[in-house]
């Protein structure tokens, strides 16, 4: 059997789509990106920048709180991947379903959840979004149709498939967004779910957050192909690649994908190329990555890209940017205070939520 050409092998892994230093210059935008920019407008882009900044700052604060031992267990940070989560989740409707892995802070905040209950969850407090029973890996929100953060690699994929099944069963036009990592792509759960989604034409959007590593194992060392969209072919499914560091691209892709699937349910595999700025979890110094590699992605920092774009468009001056950022930082500080001051869960309630 002829193996399709590895386009990525030759080009190398470039999340910047050849645009260089990570500065998105309006003049250098593609036509598609210009359209997206127009569609979002100043308000839309500002709101997305606010969310991205919120995620970044929320996680910086949670890192600090972890060092102060206010947070325990695992803490997997999303930093670096903000454009992906905010771009895609900003393109769906309020009734669509979302499920993800343990790297769930970004998804939760991008869905518009308040930072207070999320921080309180990290602090293991009764006021946490999952009442202190879940922690960092298990944010859930019934109100947002957020089916959770899940700790078993790939284990959330069939859950998202089930949500897509419900959408189709009820014919109410929702889609189900299923986020997972490049490592999770190699789980049987993905392959079983992909086959079923295609077979039954379910509106499941499988999103590989390809941050190049599953813990310390690079995609080169874990995947039989480097173009991960090739995995869609065997399931007769559409597969597309997107620059996960580019907010506009992520938004545009998801907007279109969702709209067409509401009309005509079928699955999609998205490979979003991104990078995590921190280690796998807070305890991982990530020595398996070369400094130059990390720096090359830091130059593509999605926050810098979007802030730069806002400035270039004349939609945000230095002063306004500082105000917006200060406001978010204050909100996050308030969230930390809320978490700190909230009561611990009462051990008398240990047996609550075991059975409905």
């Amino acid at each position: 059997m002829a193996e399709p050409a590895f386009t990525q092998k030759e080009e190398g892994f470039r999340a910047d789509n050849g645009r260089g230093e990570g500065r998105t210059i309006p003049g250098a935008l593609t036509e598609k990106q210009r359209e997206t920019l127009e569609e979002l407008g100043r308000e839309g882009l500002l709101e997305r920048y606010r969310l991205m900044y919120m995620i970044r700052n929320f996680e910086q604060r949670s890192e600090q709180a972890y060092q102060q031992k206010k947070i325990g267990g695992f803490l997997h940070l999303y930093m670096g991947q903000e454009a992906l989560g905010v771009g895609m989740l900003g393109a769906i409707g309020p009734r669509d379903y979302v499920v993800t892995s343990y790297r769930d802070h970004g998804v939760a905040l991008a869905l518009g959840l308040e930072p207070g209950p999320l921080m309180a969850e990290l602090f293991g407090k009764e006021t946490g979004i999952s009442r202190g029973r879940g922690g960092s890996m298990h944010f859930f929100s019934k109100e947002k149709n957020f089916l959770g953060g899940h700790g078993i690699v790939g284990g959330q994929i069939p859950i998202g498939l089930g949500a897509a099944f419900t959408a189709r069963y009820r014919a109410e036009g929702q889609v189900s967004l299923i986020f997972f990592g490049d490592g999770a792509l190699q789980q049987g759960a993905f392959h079983e779910a992909a086959n079923i989604a295609s077979l039954w034409e379910l509106p499941a959007i499988f999103i590989i957050e390809n941050n190049r590593y599953g813990m310390g194992t690079s995609v080169e060392r874990s995947s039989s192909v480097q173009d991960l969209t090739l995995k869609a072919r065997g399931y007769n499914m559409e597969g597309v690649q997107v620059d996960g560091m580019n907010l506009l691209d992520c938004h545009a892709l998801m907007k279109e994908a969702v709209a067409s699937r509401r009309q005509n349910p079928r699955p999609l595999l998205v490979e979003a190329r991104t990078y995590r700025f921190r280690g796998h979890s807070i305890s991982d110094p990530a020595t398996y990555r070369a400094r130059e590699e990390v720096e090359s992605y830091q130059r593509l920092d999605p926050l810098r890209q979007v802030r730069g774009l806002l400035e270039e468009m004349g939609w945000l001056n230095e002063q306004e940017a500082r105000e917006l950022e200060k406001k978010v930082r204050d909100e996050v500080l308030a969230a930390v205070r809320f978490a700190d001051e909230s009561p611990l869960p009462d051990p008398a309630g240990l047996g609550r939520y075991v059975y409905a």
Binding site: G132, L147, G148, P158, E192, A193, I196
Partner: protein
């Protein structure tokens, strides 16, 4: 933790709600009726599994259901247990009430992650936000000479995990009443049928039949020894009660019917009367269901016991193919008689 044990029926106020006429039917028919009635009643209930539709079920439990409900609600799945069980979890979290059929529970092992990590734990991890109203059902227990990989008794495994309920009927009436209740339950329920009992007939009350989970039933009253057995072993012992009377042993045979929640009170009440107990199961001895029941009984009525509790189980080896070896591995009536004699010190 009290949640492991059943509330008393007085507390739940539930009672078998059927009165009047009885209809003779097989376990297979009773299960079919339960699903059909619940799917007629509630549009959110659907059946998914391998061969449940056009093949009419590997064991014909879903006979005629595809024709009746169509492929939207009777869904033939590819051989992907992990995905279709997880699909059930996701569907349940988003408002449907799936019945996931395992062709046999032996194959639930490839979906174990979905059952344990997701079905059992989502309500808890989400701080009460997402419950998982889902039934996972199918044939379980050793069948006849199907060898080690097809002869698991997994109830102990499932019952170990808080969040799951585990139901194992041994009569057609219980099968129907308990399955209907399980489908209406707001929690994930593991409902283990027994392949060798599918064809067994029995009277089933006509009309609506709902039996509460967590209520044991006394199959035959007696005064010398309490014998506790579930699923097929209860059936086998029920058929063999005469052997005990021939030995001059008055047996109180109890069927827990649900492994979790476990009706410890009914079991303990009986043991307080007979002062002796034998626990029988087709699963292995080590960390088996009987170990839990014995522990509950020692805790509840230690002072009433006149002999250590005896257990009759599968031996500690994988189930072999050769018929004589298989029989030597599984609990037999003769062994139960022997155990009953032993706890009565009739050696």
């Amino acid at each position: 933790m009290e949640t492991n044990h059943a509330p008393r029926p007085e507390e739940t106020g539930s009672r078998p709600s059927a009165v009047g006429a009885m209809v003779e039917m097989t376990m297979r028919e009773a299960l079919n009726q339960a699903m059909v009635e619940e799917m007629e009643r509630d549009e959110n209930v659907f059946l998914i599994g391998e061969e449940v539709g056009s093949y009419n079920g590997a064991y014909k439990v879903s006979q005629g259901m595809l024709e009746r409900f169509g492929s939207r609600r009777v869904v033939d799945a590819p051989i992907s247990e992990n995905a279709f069980t997880g699909l059930g979890v996701g569907a349940a979290m988003t408002g449907l009430r799936p019945i996931v059929e395992f062709m046999s529970f032996n194959f639930s092992l490839v979906a174990f992650d979905q059952i344990i990590s997701n079905a059992a734990k989502t309500l808890y991890m989400s701080g009460g936000q997402f419950n998982v109203p889902m039934v996972m059902r199918g044939a379980g227990g050793p069948a006849a000479q199907v060898a080690a990989q097809h002869s698991h008794s997994l109830e102990g495994l499932f019952a170990h995990f808080p969040g799951l309920k585990v139901v194992m009927p041994s009569t057609p009436a219980d099968a129907k009443g308990l399955l209907k209740t399980s489908i209406r339950d707001d929690n994930p329920v593991v409902f283990i049928e027994n392949e060798l009992l599918y064809g067994v007939s029995g009277p089933v009350p006509a009309g609506e039949l709902l039996l509460p989970l967590g209520q044991a039933v006394i199959r035959s009253e007696g005064s010398d020894v309490t014998i506790i057995a579930h699923s097929r072993m209860n059936h086998v012992l029920r058929m063999a009660l005469e052997e005990f009377s021939r030995e001059g042993i008055s047996v109180e045979l109890i069927d827990p019917r649900t492994i979790k929640p476990l009706d410890v009170e009914t079991l303990a009440r009986s043991v307080r009367k007979t002062h002796r107990a034998v626990i029988v199961e087709e699963g292995h001895r080590f960390a088996g269901v009987g170990a839990q029941i014995a522990d509950d009984l020692y805790t509840a009525c230690f002072d009433y016991l006149d002999a250590p509790i005896a257990r009759v189980t599968h031996t500690e080896n994988p189930t072999p193919y050769a018929s004589n070896l298989e029989q030597a591995s599984l609990p037999s009536v003769a062994e139960v008689v022997k155990a009953a004699r032993a706890v009565l010190y009739r050696g």
